[in-house]
Structure formats: structure tokens, C-alpha cells
């Protein structure tokens, strides 16, 4: 009798905590909407596609920021995924036992560095290196839209690089856990069938595929919301460009930069609407990654993997 009352209480409490998460998410969404009403009414859907950001004339469009956020995050994903997976595979499969712990610890240490430190390092070390590399790039390549523009050092390329470095520890530590959880029997079975080491690793990766996709998506979630380090190296110019040389802008960065001095009502509302869009985009990315994981899991029905974790970086507003 006593026990079942305890059970009920426990269930109620944990249920309430779970509900709280939902309330908070809805609350954030509502608040962002309520505080950006002026901008929503004035610009409507054209806010998503507008390319002008003119605080003086009161004309606002978010496309350059949406573009910059997604482009820089995807760039970071492309650069970081092979490195992060390489680290994870080496640590869990190939490295000598004595190196495992320190290597794992060191990669996780990267995640503990504050982003402002990454940003400063970016300005003083990374950007000059990127500028030199940009100048050295042979002329025929410079004609491509990907490398057009003046070699300034700051720009999309530097932002993608710094984001990639910041994302690596997240992706690699989750991927390492996944690989560690692949049953020994799987590898032994592969060896028993005459696999080489590489083939056995491939089997392990195939086994943990859903989890690894989850790890990559976790990295993407981080990259989307990263603010400080990116704003310090991306050049903060609202334009839509394919070029890695071009200074561009992200959603989180424009909010952080312009919020304190936004004196006009409409300007403030436009900035908060950017926060709302970032919120929506993060949710959409999360849903898409769930779908991706779900579809790979369906294709390989007997796979048991660590449930993927996709986190949202605090939406900047």
C-alpha cells in the first residue's frame, strides 16, 4: 500500500519535470513570437527572403543571416566529421590501451574551452594563417565562385574552420561511446569470417551507424547556435555568397552584436524575430535528424544503439 503511494508520487514528480520541458519550449516560442509581433506584422514571410538589413531605414530581412548560419554549420560538419570519426575510431579500436584514457581526456578538454577564447585565438592565429593560405591559392582556382573575393582572412572559411574545431570533441566523444558499446561478439564474428582489421572496424561502424549519425547531428546543433567565436572571425557582413573568402554573418551573431543598441521598437522586434527563426530552424534540424536516424534504424532492424542525443544550443534571445 505504502509502496504504491510512493510509486505514484514518484511518477507524478518525474512526469511533472518532463512536462516542464515542454512548457519551457512552448514558453520560449510564445515569448519570441510575442516580442517580435511588430516585425512579423510588417514584413510577414518576406522577412525570410529579404536581403536588406537597414536599421536606419527600418527595412529588415533575414536571408543573409539564415544563409550564413546554415552555410557555416554545414561547412563545419563537412570538415569536422571525418576528423571526429577518425579520432573516435583510433581511440576505441586502434590505439594502445595506455593511450586511450589521455587521448579521450584531451579531446574532451577541447569542449571545455570557452568560445571567446576560441574567438580570440581565431583573430590572432587562425585568421592570419587563413589569409596566407588564401593568398597562396593558385589563380585558376581563385576564379571559382567558392574562392572569389579579396583575401581578407576573416570570412566564411575561417568561421567554418573554427566551428569545425569546436564541434570535433562533441562528435568524437559520442561516436567513441557508440563504438565502445558495439558488442565484442560482432567483431569476433567478423574476424572469424576472415575479416581484416579494417573490415572488422567497418562492421563495428555499420553496427553503430544510427548512433554515429546522432553524434554528427549533435555537432550540427552546436554549430548552429555558436555565437561568440563565429562573430569574431566571420566578418559580420550580411550578404549571401558562396565564397569562402567573403565576410558573412550568422543569426546568433547579429543578435549578440546589435541587441544592446537597438533603440527603435521595430529594430528590436526584427532582432527578436531572428531569434524566433533560429529557434524554428533548430527545431526543424532536430526533426530532420530524428527522421534520418529513424530511417537508418528501419533499414537495419536488429541494431541496438545508444539513443542519439541532439542538443540545442541556447537560442540567443
Amino acid at each position: 500500500m505504502q509502496r504504491s503511494a510512493d510509486d505514484r508520487l514518484f511518477r507524478l514528480m518525474t512526469g511533472a519535470f518532463a512536462a516542464l520541458v515542454l512548457v519551457i519550449v512552448i514558453g520560449i516560442g510564445y515569448e519570441l513570437w510575442a516580442q517580435s509581433v511588430l516585425s512579423i506584422q510588417k514584413f510577414g514571410w518576406s522577412f525570410w527572403t529579404g536581403r536588406t538589413w537597414d536599421p536606419v531605414a527600418g527595412d529588415f530581412g533575414a536571408l543573409p543571416f539564415i544563409w550564413g548560419t546554415i552555410y557555416s554549420s554545414l561547412l563545419a560538419l563537412i570538415l569536422s566529421t571525418p576528423i571526429a570519426l577518425g579520432i573516435a575510431i583510433f581511440i576505441s579500436e586502434l590505439s594502445p590501451r595506455s593511450l586511450r584514457q589521455p587521448l579521450g581526456y584531451l579531446t574532451e578538454l577541447l569542449a571545455a574551452i570557452p568560445s571567446i577564447v576560441y574567438g580570440l585565438w581565431g583573430i590572432f592565429v587562425l585568421v592570419p594563417i587563413v589569409r596566407k593560405a588564401e593568398i597562396l591559392l593558385p589563380d585558376p582556382l581563385r576564379k571559382l565562385p567558392l574562392f572569389s573575393g579579396a583575401p581578407l582572412g576573416v570570412g566564411m572559411g575561417a568561421a567554418g574552420l573554427i566551428l569545425a574545431i569546436m564541434v570535433v570533441p562533441y562528435t568524437s566523444s559520442v561516436a567513441r561511446e557508440i563504438l565502445k558499446n558495439v558488442p565484442v561478439a560482432q567483431r569476433e564474428a567478423a574476424y572469424a569470417l576472415g575479416s581484416t582489421r579494417w573490415e572488422a572496424i567497418k562492421v563495428a561502424i555499420g553496427y553503430g551507424k544510427t548512433g554515429i549519425i546522432g553524434a554528427i547531428m549533435l555537432g550540427l546543433g552546436r554549430a548552429l547556435g555558436e555565437t561568440m567565436a563565429v562573430t569574431m572571425v566571420i566578418g559580420n557582413a550580411p550578404q549571401v555568397s558562396l565564397s569562402l573568402y567573403a565576410p558573412q554573418y550568422t543569426m546568433a551573431a547579429v543578435i549578440a552584436n546589435e541587441f544592446t543598441e537597438a533603440a527603435e521598437e521595430l529594430y528590436l522586434h526584427a532582432l527578436i524575430e531572428i531569434g524566433l527563426l533560429l529557434f524554428v530552424i533548430t527545431i526543424v534540424v532536430n526533426i530532420l535528424s530524428r527522421l534520418l536516424i529513424w530511417s537508418t534504424r528501419r533499414r537495419a532492424p536488429n541494431v541496438v544503439a545508444v539513443p542519439p542525443v541532439v542538443e540545442e544550443e541556447e537560442a540567443a534571445a
Binding site: T52, P55, V56, I123, A150, V154, M232, E261, A262, A263
Partner: protein, 361 residues
């Protein structure tokens, strides 16, 4: 929401400061005669540019028995909003209230008074192996409009006779965050270039035709130091601090003037001659042979009708102190001290403030 967070944080910080400063009053109080007065606490918020000066002035003021002042440097825009809403007793801003803000203030607490409290000069720093580069307003505007893209452009060469200019591409750097420095700089460009005025205008953040946005004055100065061929603008103190070469600018009198505290003060003094009644003067490109063209006031903004008798009196005293005795700290911190004519105008403005329906003592 972020703003509310800022306020909470600011208030929390103020709390720490308060306890800290209260102890200092305690020790000073035994000697100061003014200790008999009940402790009055004034809250202020706004311009980051003013912060170093205010810390010094307000501290000195308290030590000689004046009110305790908590000042939060949350940015000019935030300071203006908070004073309008009555969250703080005074706001500090590098740009005057616009029409929308004036209306909001009048609806909330009546007319406001702008009191110029200090002046600053904005340097145009560059990264070129050339000493004492000369620029004039229209050329600078065209650089920022993206119409002049190389340092050896013939228009730059024309004002720098005999100087070997490299063919380096110009890397334009500007502030990414909204700022009073940007307001003064874009006001100057608007004053000297009709095209800039119509395309971008003057404000704390504008739509930049070209260039890299960097965060904070330290970001702009860092970017200029790092990028060969870069040009950027920042408060004069940053140029001195980082040993960045500053352009010598042609003023309204046709002379070339390097940025200096004296140049800013001269510009302010010549602006005082035709100051508008509300003291909302933007004096970029000021007349006078020695005036430096990119300089501006920073204002303390208060409601004209102070409802709280104690606080109102304390506020008026603080303003008088800041405008007169407080100016002695300016020069050492790279601010231009207020010239006499501006101080006189300030006194008239402060005299307009009424406390609980009566003129202040």
C-alpha cells in the same frame, strides 16, 4: 528577453558594487563633513564609451561626500530605454534621443534634458607602410562606399603629394555591434557626402555598403593591426593603446588635423557658438582651423521634472559636479574636457530641472 536578463545581471552587479562602495563611504564618512547627509543612491546606465570617465568621476564625487552612484555600462541604446522607463535615474548616451524616443519619454515622464558631459574624438586608423596619411571627408566616404578600392587611387594620391602609395587593396573595417562611435563616424560621413547620407545615413548601426564588421573597438583595432591595407575607425584611445597609425583629416577650415584631445575640444568649443537650445548638437566637421572633424558629445539624459525630492537634488548636484570638477579627470583618460562655453550651456540646462515641482537648489 535578453534585455531583461541584462537588467537582472546589471542589478546583481550593482548589488556587489554597492556593498563594496558602502564600505568605502563608511571609512570616508568619519572624516567627511557631508557624512551627515542621508546616503542617497543614484542609478545610471548607458554608454560604454563614458564608463572609464564615469568610474573615476563618480568615485571622486562620493569620496568628497556626494551621493553614491551605480553606473552600468550596458550601451547607449539600453541606457536611453531604461531612463525613459524610469528604471534608472539617469541615462548616458553617445547619441541624442530621436523623435520616437522623445515621444516615448514625454508620454512616460515628461520632457527630458540633454546634458553634454564629455567629448571624444574618433580616429581613422590604417595599416600601410606610410606615415601621416592624409584623407579628406569625401575621399573617406567613397572608401566606405566601396568606390575607392586601392590605396594608390588617384584621389588619395592627390591629397598626399610626394607620398609613395602602395597598390594594396583597401580592406574596410567597421563596427559590427551598434555603437556611439559608429554614430559619430557615420554622422561625419553623412555631413561630408550626400551619397553616404542617402545610401547609409547616420546611426548607431547602419547598412554598410562594403567591409568587414568587427566586434567592439578592440575588434576593429585588432583587425586593422592584423590586415595589411585595412582602414577602420575607433575611439582615439584605442589608436594610442595599440600604436595604430591614424589618418590626418582635412577639417571644415581646409586644414589637415591629426586626432587629439585638443582638436576635439576645439571642435566642441566652436560648436558651442551655434548650439541648439536642447543641446542635442552633433558637431562633426566643425568649423575652426584646429578643430578635429570627427568628434562628438556624450550626454547624460534625465527627466526635466524630478518627482523624488531627495534623488532629484542629488542628481542635480551630481550633474554640476560632473560638468565642472569632474572634467579634471578627462584628459588623462583620453577624453576632451568640456570647454567653458559648453559648461555655461550645461549650467543653463541643469537649471531647467525641477525637483518635486520646485527649481533645484
Amino acid at each position: 528577453m535578453r534585455k531583461t536578463l541584462f537588467v537582472i545581471l546589471a542589478v546583481a552587479l550593482a548589488g556587489c558594487q554597492q556593498s563594496e562602495t558602502t564600505t568605502t563611504t563608511g571609512t570616508a564618512g568619519t572624516t567627511a563633513a557631508a557624512a551627515s547627509a542621508a546616503p542617497v543612491r543614484l542609478q545610471g546606465a548607458g554608454s560604454t564609451f563614458d564608463t572609464p570617465l564615469f568610474s573615476k568621476v563618480f568615485d571622486a564625487y562620493q569620496k568628497q561626500g556626494g551621493a553614491e552612484v551605480n553606473y552600468q555600462s550596458i550601451g547607449s541604446g539600453g541606457g536611453v530605454q531604461q531612463v525613459i522607463k524610469g528604471v534608472v535615474d539617469f541615462g548616458a548616451s553617445d547619441y541624442p534621443l530621436n523623435d520616437e524616443q522623445t515621444k516615448a519619454a514625454e508620454a512616460a515622464g515628461g520632457p527630458v534634458v540633454h546634458v553634454p558631459v564629455t567629448m571624444g574624438a574618433v580616429s581613422v586608423g590604417y595599416n600601410l607602410p606610410v606615415e601621416g596619411l592624409r584623407l579628406d571627408g569625401p575621399t573617406l566616404a567613397d572608401i566606405y562606399l566601396g568606390k575607392i578600392t586601392k590605396w594608390n587611387d588617384r584621389r588619395i594620391a592627390a591629397i598626399n603629394p610626394g607620398v609613395q602609395l602602395p597598390s594594396t587593396a583597401i580592406a574596410v573595417v567597421h563596427r559590427a555591434d551598434g555603437s556611439g562611435t559608429t554614430f559619430i563616424f557615420t554622422s561625419y560621413l553623412s555631413a561630408v557626402s550626400p551619397e553616404w547620407k542617402s545610401k547609409a545615413g547616420a546611426a548607431g548601426s547602419v547598412k554598410w555598403p562594403v567591409g568587414i564588421g568587427a566586434k567592439g573597438s578592440e575588434g576593429v583595432s585588432g583587425q586593422v593591426t592584423n590586415t595589411p591595407g585595412a582602414v577602420g575607425y575607433f575611439e582615439m584611445a584605442y589608436a594610442n593603446l595599440n600604436h595604430i597609425k591614424s589618418a590626418v583629416l582635412k577639417n571644415a577650415g581646409g586644414r589637415f588635423v591629426a586626432p587629439s584631445v585638443q582638436g576635439a575640444a576645439d571642435a566642441g568649443a566652436s560648436a558651442a557658438n551655434n548650439m541648439p537650445a536642447d543641446l542635442k548638437a552633433v558637431f562633426v566637421n566643425a568649423p575652426g582651423d584646429t578643430s578635429y572633424p570627427i568628434a562628438g558629445f556624450s550626454w547624460i539624459i534625465v527627466y526635466q521634472n524630478q518627482k523624488d525630492a531627495t534623488k532629484g537634488e542629488a542628481l542635480v548636484k551630481l550633474l554640476r559636479y560632473t560638468v565642472h570638477d569632474g572634467q579634471q579627470f578627462a584628459q588623462a583618460l583620453d577624453y576632451a574636457p568640456l570647454p567653458k562655453p559648453v559648461q555655461d550651456l550645461d549650467d543653463q540646462a541643469i537649471a531647467k530641472i525641477s525637483v518635486a515641482g520646485h527649481p533645484a537648489q
